[in-house]
Amino acid sequence: MTMTIPYNFFQYLLRHDQCTPKLAAYARVRKAEDIEFATGGRDASIRRMVASVRKEVHMLRGFVRLTAYGAYASYGYLKPRHDVGELVAELLARRYPHTVIILGNAYHSWMCLYGTEGVVQTEGPALASVLASLRDMLGCDSSPQSSEALWEVYYRSQYREKRRNLPYFRKSMTDTLRRSAHSIVESNTNGASTLDAYCSDDD
């Protein structure tokens, strides 16, 4: 039978921002089946919490944008609600082997590399200070290269004015998620909607 709750659900629960030690102790001895088929009480609440963490990982792995920093590193902004930075960084590292993925915000950062030694991970201080160390390490040859401008043009090209539906957009790409990934282009709902307006804005 297909389960919506994974067997390692406990690992996800621990990353929830409202997971208390008491709840963790209770969940530690529960089986995935107990959580999946719960009809109420704490088990159903654990199911909702696990789903919330997994959803954040799934959404943020798509919404985070990376800027290449030289040939060996890429960085992006991430400030998740739950403690999922490590998971998102690993998913992205597996997508781009041999590239150090650095995700972070003003307080914390997560680094991950997927290469010949498998997955190597570490955590660090604020993103800005990690990038400063990176600049020192790579020298002045490397500079950040973002494709944000290209993305903005493409993103605008996909918009259908006659089907404008901001409530649905906000439901799918919530304010919290957009803030977590620092999605500037997508958040600009009143911005230029045509190429002409886009170009004139630049001028």
Partner: protein, 402 residues
Amino acid sequence: MERMIALARQGRFDSEGPAPSVRPDIEKVYALGEATKHDICVSTASPRSVSGIDRIGNVCAGGICHAYAHDGRCVSMFKTLYTNACTHECAYCSNASCSSGGAVYSYTPHELASLFMDLYRGNYVEGLFLSSGVGADEYETMASMVETAEMLRTAYRFQGYVHLKILPGADRDHIRRAMSVSDRVSVNIEVPSSSRLSEICATKDFKTDILRRQRYIQRFVSKEGAPAGQTTQLVVGGAGETDVEIFKATVREYHKFGLKRVYYSAFTPVPGTILESQCMQPAWREHRLYQMDWLYRIYHYSSCELMSAFDCSDHLANTDPKRAIAQASGLSPVDPNIASYDELLRVPGIGPVSARRILAARTRGSIRSRKELAAMGVVMCRASPYLSLGGWHDSLLARWMA
């Protein structure tokens, strides 16, 4: 971090591909991207497994969305035309030779592959969706499209998601090559029948240009071919077709050609085309057809059962078709403690996940309250009139008012 950079340097392989010759022309990116905005294909799910460290990109069984447009649609792929030049005369299309369209643009395989990889490396898109006008002729354009995909797979070592459109009348050999490098291929049938096609396009032949290509694809899929199979798309209401016609065409596509998905795009008049003065079709029509499609594929309703959702004018009403079918068939209240999986699935408000949870919960004890059902994911406001718990159920009036 120093160790990480050192490791990254050691294991680095060349995935940069040929150096980009020119900076991307943003007007071209916009024009060729905009021309695909009515092409629907949001799923990037692929069963193909990707492993190893000598490649870039991967695929995911669940599919990932990288953004949502302000019309609420998921933007997961770099969806673009290879060229917007076209010799066909589709009355709804701005690229048609009979339309008063704008400038003509075209990519080169190298340019397009390099552009796509820039977006992919920035994690803006999940894959490439490459469609095209037929250009000077479909043979040459299809060859260039396939060359783009081949370049991504070889020069850039890209192992992510690629969806290629097969142009009407494309060469059989090109179809085979396209399928060897893509996850999914599709031929847009646009309309449900040959007679409807003749109303909106005089230059395409439904049987030879479209259905025959779908047959080729089906044969290649069964031998080796694209892991995510083939799909198609229908324009809803462009040629005045009814919902019954569209639904019957959908069932035919699933049965005859083994399609994975059928997509629907409600007709929107495009300025400069022959159909620019025709009424725009409401978005709910597209939505209701997707619900019917879902009932057919996921809930395994038979096509005969689904026919009761249509009204006497062969259209769907703007209501939940599952509830309409339950009302039309006089579905009597079912007891979740004894109902089978199929019976539970017929109840509005119960889906496959909640039906499975109900079955599992029964093995641990009987279900006594509606609150328990709600905790299992049942949408009680919809399901309540069709459920009987401990012999109690809502009155007939409540069922009809639901």
